[in-house]
């Protein structure tokens, strides 16, 4: 009978860009239990909705996270638009779709780089981030910002993209698709990479369902669910199928995210072909009344925005349920039985974003 010991993991750890703490109960080198604790970077952004009016709060909403900033802003705007019955122009819907998918590509490339860094493959890490830089440049060309875009507003978008700019972006993305094929070959077929990912951190379909996992973490376990299928923004007009795998290990999660990058490029291509001309925003009057629950598929999974208006310029309540928060129970389950050396990789495979989680 081996003795049990508790090893604290985080909140400061080389693999963690943001602070989360786990108490790992070990038997020798094997994890038997993981007890998570969060609360190191709570900022009180939900409370701020009482101080800022609902139009100004868009800028706060997009600061919930530095990676999915566009989607946080968009999710909040769509929720408010539903409570006020605002129908935004079609062009704005397509612009939201294009920027959302660009965010997804850059988030997944960031994750691939972090994963490569976690198992010590520095050159692969650099390669992922080199490619990601092109997306950030595209964001700067189209929105003026690389991290915070400030293009969402209630009633549409604050900026338009000229058609030639969209065509240029599609051209850049098609070039990137070829480079990505070479890089994904290393991620999916390299012996050293596979040895760190294959057969590590299984989560069964039933466990994923019971523990409420979301996003690529859930789809890697075989659940066919993608919130984009609800048809917000312009997704209702685009053809795509959720990417799933039935294996449920870390390798499957990597595979899913790589295939989602290709899917995002395809969605941008489709949106660029279908985008109509016209205005990008509609004026509106009044204040939000009533409540709405908006679901958005972020790179890390489904995020939920709940808003409740009382007819004044300040909302009664604004609540965000972020994907990382939903994935922590699943993470704790996958950690049980793994080796201590695999813990950093497993934490990364849920693509944790603690700033989102704590808001």
């Amino acid at each position: 009978m081996s003795t049990r010991s508790v090893v604290p993991f985080g909140p400061q750890h080389p693999v963690l860009p943001e602070p989360i703490h786990l108490d790992l109960v070990l038997e020798d080198e094997r994890v038997v239990e993981a007890i998570p604790s969060i609360g190191f970077i709570h900022r009180g952004l939900e409370k701020l909705v009482e101080k800022k009016d609902f139009i100004e709060y868009v800028y706060v909403a997009e600061r919930i996270c530095g990676i999915c900033s566009f989607m946080h802003g968009m999710g909040y705007c769509e929720a408010i638009e539903h409570t006020m019955g605002i129908e935004i122009p079609d062009r704005a819907k397509y612009l939201r779709t294009i920027w959302s998918e660009m965010s997804r590509i850059h988030s997944h490339m960031l994750w691939l780089g972090l994963l490569a860094d976690a198992f010590g493959f520095e050159s692969l890490f650099m390669e992922s981030w080199r490619m990601r830089e092109k997306i950030l440049d595209m964001f700067e060309y189209s929105t003026g910002g690389r991290v915070i875009f400030s293009v969402n507003k209630i009633g549409g978008q604050r900026k338009d993209m000229p058609d030639d700019m969209i065509a240029d972006f599609v051209h850049i993305l098609e070039g990137m698709e070829k480079e990505l094929k070479a890089m994904s070959n290393t991620f999916l077929n390299d012996y050293a990479v596979k040895s760190r990912l294959e057969g590590v951190g299984y989560l069964t379909k039933q466990q994923a369902h019971d523990l409420g996992a979301v996003g690529p973490f859930m789809r890697a376990s075989g659940i066919n669910l993608d919130t984009r299928k609800t048809g917000y923004a312009a997704y209702a007009n685009l053809e795509f199928e959720p990417i799933i795998s039935t294996v449920g290990d870390s390798y499957a999660r990597t595979d899913i995210r790589i295939r989602e990058i290709y899917q995002s490029i395809d969605l941008i291509r489709q949106a660029a072909a279908k985008i109509p001309s016209g205005d990008v925003a509609v004026p509106f009057k009044g204040n939000p009344t009533g409540e709405y629950l908006m679901r958005v598929e972020q790179p890390r999974g489904e995020a939920i925005y709940y808003v409740k208006g009382n007819g004044t310029k300040n909302l009664d309540r604004m609540r965000v349920r972020t994907p990382t928060f939903a994935n922590i129970p699943g993470l704790v389950e996958t950690l049980k039985g793994c080796q201590l050396a695999d813990v950093p990789i497993l934490i990364l495979t849920i693509d944790p974003c603690i700033s989102c989680t704590e808001r």
Partner: protein, 161 residues
């Protein structure tokens, strides 16, 4: 058969390795040699807010629309000021300015140890016949502290007197 398979694998890996080596030898670096090669900002880059103070009518819309309350406008003294480190460069003020005297500049606010406020004061235009006066003035509200060299020079001046 197994040996043959191994040889084929080795040849393939050498081939792909050489391809990578030659690609890296003859391709441009992914990074820029900054600061020797300057960064060229795109047209839409949101750096900081600029103002043509002579065109401003001090209506105060920019101040009311600013989500962080970084802009302050005093109509009586023709004073327009911005907290540079409170501004989030959303560009809301640029969009609503009725005289289009606010612009989004591509340059960023220089780093500073203190959170500066920049004030712009419109000098009244001279009446016909009056001599021309100095026009716009921009000054930081908090006077910057003297550097040690300036302090020493000032002390030397005093001692001479």
């Amino acid at each position: 058969m197994h040996q043959l398979h191994g040889k084929v694998n080795l040849t393939m890996s050498i081939l792909s390795f050489s391809k990578t080596v030659f690609h890296n030898l003859f391709s441009k670096p992914a990074t820029r040699n900054y600061p020797q090669v300057p960064r060229i900002y795109p047209e839409r880059t949101r750096g900081q807010i600029g103002i043509k103070i002579d065109d401003c009518i001090f209506c105060g819309i920019c101040s009311r629309k600013c989500p962080t309350g970084a802009i302050a406008v005093v109509r009586e003294t023709k004073n327009w000021s911005i907290k540079r480190f409170g501004c989030i460069q959303c560009g809301e003020c640029v969009g609503v300015c009725p005289k289009k005297c606010l612009t989004m500049l591509q340059t960023y606010t220089a780093p500073n140890a203190t959170k500066t406020v920049e004030e712009y004061i419109q000098i009244l235009k001279p009446a016909p016949g009056e001599p021309p006066r100095q026009t716009a003035a921009a000054k930081p509200a908090a006077a910057p502290e003297q550097t040690p060299a300036q302090k020493a020079a000032a002390a030397a001046d005093t001692s001479k007197e």
